[in-house]
């Protein structure tokens, strides 16, 4: 917790002390990118420009960015159905994401995957996942591959509070703990799995409690405070890179949008949503950055402007993309050449 408004960033907390101005700027930029990307995507969805469904992470940007900002391209992440933030956090470009939404050949998945399957292996993003909990064994396996090749990388698994009740959660965390795999489980607890509150779905109040069942560290952080998220992550990365095995980080957060487009928000109150909107992670971060004198308002506005351009250009890029040919439907079911 911050003590005084005048604290210099260097003297404040590890998050500010250990990251350069450029890194912090990039973090803010990515949070804005996620926000604006999703707002524009939502809008194009409402206007009927994209089909399928889409899960927005508006309000959850601090965890995506706070978790990913210290990872390299050879560190892996697995993501979820609510994965735009993770994807951008890990370094994806919004133009290829928009193209994917529009089902274009230029999309990250050549239009075959859509919102729920966006992946970018080049940045270590092994993909969003349409199966709740589907990424848990995959991230664990990626960590195993790292261990097998005696690598120094880590694998990070994003999952939701709802996913924590899947058997895949239990089996994966147990295996990771027994084998001391370099994997970090990041639960984005946004209080609901679709319409069901954690209270109605989960026998414990805090999902981090369950870490004890796997003899691994479990910490709870304010998922809307990027510094809190990142500091927990730095500790988990250090543990994992040094052979200390897996950790579980629970980011308490909230999605201010509905679960997906068909959501009528019958399971929660307007007040609850409004209360959380006040805790928006982006202004909170901007305030801190200014308070600590990292950036002034002009610098922050420059970031926002840059994001605006990037999103607008990305959207235009995607709109003018190439539609797949119907006869290409069988493409990439199998790897044609012998080399993987």
């Amino acid at each position: 917790m911050l003590k005084a408004k005048t604290t210099k960033p260097e003297n404040a907390r590890p998050f500010y002390a250990r990251h350069s101005k450029e890194q912090l700027r990039n973090a803010l930029r990515r949070m804005w990118l996620i926000r604006r990307f999703e707002e524009v995507a939502e809008d194009s969805y409402v206007r009927g420009l994209t089909h399928g469904t889409m899960h927005l992470s508006i309000g959850q940007e601090a965890s995506a960015v706070g978790i990913c900002m210290d990872l390299t391209n050879s560190d892996y992440i697995t993501s979820t159905h609510r994965g735009h933030g993770h994807c951008i956090g890990k370094g994806a470009e919004v133009k290829f994401m928009f193209a994917e939404f529009f089902g274009k050949e230029e999309g990250y998945c050549r239009g075959r995957g859509g919102s729920m399957h966006i992946a970018d292996p080049a940045t270590g993003n092994l993909g969003a996942n349409g199966i709740v909990g589907g990424g848990l064994p995959l991230a664990t396996g990626a960590a195993l591959a790292i261990q097998q090749r005696k690598g120094q990388d880590v694998a990070v698994c994003f999952f939701g509070d709802g996913a924590n009740n899947e058997g895949a959660f239990h089996e994966s965390l147990n295996i990771a703990a027994v084998w001391k795999l370099p994997v970090i489980y990041v639960c984005e607890n946004n209080q609901y799995g679709m319409s069901v509150s954690t209270e109605r779905s989960t026998a414990v109040k805090d999902i981090a409690t369950r870490a004890a069942a796997y003899n691994m560290p479990g910490v709870i952080v304010d998922g809307n405070a990027i510094a809190d998220v990142n500091e927990a992550m730095m500790a988990a990365i250090e543990l994992a890179r040094n052979g200390g095995g897996p950790s579980l980080i629970e980011c308490k957060t909230y999605r201010t949008r509905g679960h997906s487009r068909s959501d009528r928000n019958r399971y929660r109150t307007k007040e609850e949503i409004e209360d959380w909107k006040v805790k928006d992670p982006i202004p909170a971060f901007e305030n801190e950055l200014q308070k600590f004198g990292v950036f002034n308002l002009a610098e922050i506005e420059a970031v926002r402007a840059q994001v605006e351009t990037e999103v607008a250009e990305g959207f235009a890029f995607a709109q003018s993309g190439t539609n797949p040919l119907p006869q290409s439907v069988l493409r990439d079911v199998y790897t044609v050449s012998g080399a993987a």
Binding site: T53, G103, G113, G114, H117, M194, S195, D263, R264
Partner: protein, 330 residues
């Protein structure tokens, strides 16, 4: 009473409500089936009428959820378990295949397993590969299960009620795109048999055996081909396990040609079983052309709407296929 119209989803909803009224042992479990009303709105307002104990939102735990339903069934309850998407049954195969399907047999007949699984299936919603599968064939391969796929609101309600009165485990595949389609549905409780196909259109030039959403597409295709003087018999298979071979055989003996149309991946799908059943039956001798299968492409369901359409038979594909079937000479 005049012809009352309900949507497919409303028909299922009414069937569940009537069953719960009539039998205190009946209850529903599933993800977001309470206040949310179900991902496709099928359970709707039932939670307000029957309360949270009989319309139970389950944690996101398909193996546990389905298995708990099986356990409740063998202990005297009559559970309905709704998979939010039938794709998620991939997490619950163990309890359905090893437990529910085999328990009666393994126990020498000492127990029955009256559980109903509702399985929203199929593509067409842009939900891509993991939310669009048609997996009914897997269960056709599992003795002990009964597996059906209604194509009309009337059958949806009738099969649901028949399933609830059946002592054995029943899986009902419901194509998502059918939920909003409307049709006549009797208000009273009634059963649609779980082992009978039905001829939806009589014809003499070829038999078209169709499943689920493909029934209407085949009827549309038949209408178009009627304009070309081709007279098709369209059979709604309805039942996957057991398949109603008798109705098929009778039809093929009359028409001498057969196509099977379904959305699932073509290989190892219901088309294979229908083809093989006819081939080993007396109808084989009557065949005047190779049996045709029109199924999904050999690929997952892609996201792009262009590709998604290309991945499953459309009316124009069916028209083209059936035209060639009828004109092919032996």
């Amino acid at each position: 009473m005049s012809m009352r119209e309900l949507s497919f989803a409303q028909a299922l909803n009414e069937g569940m409500a009537q069953a719960m009224e009539a039998d205190p042992r009946v209850f529903i479990m599933g993800e977001d089936i309470g206040v949310y009303g179900g991902a496709f709105g099928v359970t709707g307002e039932l939670v307000h009428r029957f309360g949270e104990l009989r319309v139970r939102d389950t944690p996101i735990s398909e193996l546990g959820g389905a298995g708990v339903a099986v356990g409740a069934a063998i202990a005297g309850a009559r559970p309905i378990y709704e998979f939010q998407f039938s794709d998620f049954v991939s997490l619950a195969m163990e309890q359905i295949v090893n437990q529910a399907a085999k328990m009666r047999y393994m126990l020498g007949g000492k127990i029955s397993v009256p559980v109903v699984f509702r399985m929203p299936c199929g593509s067409g919603t842009g939900a891509a590969a993991q939310h669009s599968q048609s997996l009914e064939a897997w269960f056709g391969h599992v003795p002990g299960l009964k597996v059906v796929e209604p194509s009309t609101p009337e059958d949806a309600k009738g099969m649901l009620l028949a399933a609830l009165d059946d002592p054995d485990p029943v899986l009902i595949f419901e194509h998502k795109l059918l939920y909003k389609t409307k049709g006549h549905v009797p208000e009273a409780m009634y059963h649609t048999p779980l082992d009978k196909a039905v001829v939806r259109r009589a014809g003499k030039d070829a038999t078209v055996a169709a499943l689920g959403i493909m029934v209407q597409k085949c009827l549309d295709a038949a209408e178009i081909l009627a304009g070309e003087g081709i007279d098709l018999e369209v059979i709604d298979l309805r039942c996957i396990r057991p398949i109603d071979a008798a109705t098929l055989i009778e039809s093929v003996k009359k028409t001498t040609r057969l196509a099977c149309v379904y959305e699932a991946v073509k290989a190892f799908g219901i088309g294979a079983e229908v083809s093989a059943l006819i081939c080993e039956s007396e109808a084989f001798d009557y065949l005047d052309a190779p049996i045709m299968r029109l199924g999904g492409t050999d690929s997952p369901i892609p996201y792009s709407p262009i590709l998604e359409k290309a991945a499953v038979p459309q009316v124009e594909d069916i028209v083209a296929g059936l035209r060639s079937l009828v004109t092919k000479r032996f």
